[in-house]
């Protein structure tokens, strides 16, 4: 990451009328860095991406892209930005090559270099087979990849990708992640997603946003930890608490155990076990407990985005930039 960030948001807020969509958002993305922008639907990811891309202006605060202030110099900044919106912006009546030619020309690619540039992005996004097809005939996967291809045209310094793998099959997702990873080696990439695995797999840092507020900026390792911590097994058992705790801690895959008396039902214990992410731990717990205790209920909770958010909300209600 370079000393001066390529994307910088300083206390950015966005209001529509009296409704505040984005609250005091600050973070940076440096050259050679892929930052994931993680949040559930409606968290404010798309609005933030739109503000950075210059589609809509911030109500307050300052956004700079490669040193250009988006409030006053958005056209200069736009020359350095490739942007894939949430919905790929495609002209259905044009064919693929005519569409890419239009975007390349507007981005200032030299006329002599346009053909080669289109071939480059078409190869990167596996579009060679459909270059002469009209866009309305393309499948959802091809449309998404064409949206990515137009963003890559002209090798922009900054790449903004709003849900870039939405609608792709697993093979295409893998290829797209490789393209993004390769591009991110010497460019600044901000990638919004609501898929936890995507953020941890290809990003160097992850900005976590909910209800328009930045909850934290963490490393993928930190996010991985949060995911693992949300791997839990909940039980309701009748029996002695110390013996139950010892039994559970002896099960392979159980990391920590929290045993509490059920306030509503005397004699019943409510247990929360933090477990490894692998499968089968809950079955081992069931086997260990069922022989010695009266097991009423056993439930495995997977690491959903909401659970991970809850963990961050509990730890850091409204943190600023952490990295």
């Amino acid at each position: 990451m370079s000393a001066s960030p390529t994307i910088r948001l300083d206390s950015v807020s966005k209001r529509y009328g009296s409704r505040t969509i984005i609250h005091d958002l600050s973070f940076t993305v440096g050259r050679g860095e892929i930052v994931g922008f993680l949040g559930p639907n409606g968290a404010g990811k798309t609005t933030t991406m739109r503000m950075i891309a210059g589609f809509t202006a911030a109500t307050s605060g300052r956004i700079t892209v490669a040193g250009h202030d988006m409030a006053t110099d958005n056209v200069s900044a736009a020359r350095l930005v490739g942007y894939l919106p949430e919905r790929p912006p495609l002209y259905d009546v044009l064919d693929v090559s005519a569409y890419l030619r239009f975007v390349a020309r507007v981005k200032g690619v030299r006329r002599a270099a346009i053909h080669g540039e289109i071939e480059r992005v078409a190869a990167a996004c596996r579009l060679e087979a459909v270059l002469d097809d009209e866009i309305f005939k393309l499948s959802k996967g091809y449309r998404q990849r064409l949206g990515l291809a137009q963003a890559l045209l002209g090798s922009p310094e900054v790449l903004l990708l709003d849900e870039p793998t939405a609608g792709l099959d697993p093979g295409q997702i893998q290829e797209t992640r490789e393209v993004i990873r390769a591009f991110g080696a010497d460019h600044a990439v901000l990638l919004s997603t609501h898929i936890l695995a995507e953020a941890t797999l290809i990003c160097q840092r992850v900005a976590i946003i909910n209800h328009g507020r930045l909850l934290a900026i963490d490393s993928p390792a930190g996010l991985q930890r949060a995911m693992e911590e949300t791997n839990r097994v909940a039980l309701r058992v009748t029996g002695a608490a110390p013996a139950l705790r010892d039994t559970l801690l002896a099960v392979d895959g159980v990391r920590a155990v929290d045993v509490r008396a059920d306030a509503a039902e005397p004699g019943v214990l409510t247990v929360n076990c933090q477990v490894d992410a692998r499968d089968g731990v809950e079955a081992a717990i069931a086997r260990a407990v069922a022989g010695r205790f009266d097991l009423h209920r056993l439930e495995r909770s997977q690491p959903t985005l909401e659970n991970v958010f809850l963990r961050y909300v509990q730890e850091s209600p409204a943190s600023g930039e952490a990295a």
Binding site: R50, A53, G54, F55, T56, A57, N74, V75, S76, A78, R79, V81, Y83, P85, R87, P88, P89, L90, Y91, D92, V93, L94, A98, F102, V103, R105, V106, K107, G108, E134, Q150
Partner: protein
Amino acid sequence: MSGTLAVYQKEMATYFRSPIAYYVVAVFLLGSGYFFLYNIFLSGETAMAGTFQNMGVLLMTLAPVISMRLLAAEYNAGTAELLLTLPLTPWQIVVGKFLGAVTILLLITAGSMVDLIPLYLFGTPETTTILSGYLGFVLLGLASLAVGQLFSTLTHNQIVAALLSAAVLLAFWWVGHLQSFQASPGVRAFVAYLSFSRHFTDFIQGLVRTESVVFYLVVSGIALTLSVAYLQWRR
């Protein structure tokens, strides 16, 4: 300039890969051809005055069809998010699109000149009057398309854009009739000045007045400026 040209070329490709351009050209040529024959056989004069008048009314209804998709279709398809984040100024977008619509106008204008062949073969029409009529028609078209583009910039719905444009253009066309209801000479003059048809009638009669040329250009300029201002404001 290259940005404007790229937008213009994209517009032209879009027009001719959708049925709109073909529909507008076909309806206009059929309509103007019919009115030409009707006027010639009715009056027996080798003149275009009556035909120009009918072409003007036809343009008031077809200009909204040409202009309705200019920005409204971009909003609706989500491509506005691309267009407005590419390195283009609002002026480049608005002018590039406007020039695309003007090209359709020039095509229908050129197409209607087929009517001149029998006129010159079988009669002796006044060339200067015809040239002035065509100049007026093109200027009227520029103003109409600019107003139509403004409404297309203001709404996501192409049909709403077309209906609003048609209503406003027809109001501009007929506003001159309100003169009869005005007692004040100032208001009468103002209402007459706003009338698209009054200025156009001057051109049809062979009268190229600076005031009328400026009027159409100013209306076009104001409408385009408002479109640009709206695009800037909506950010």
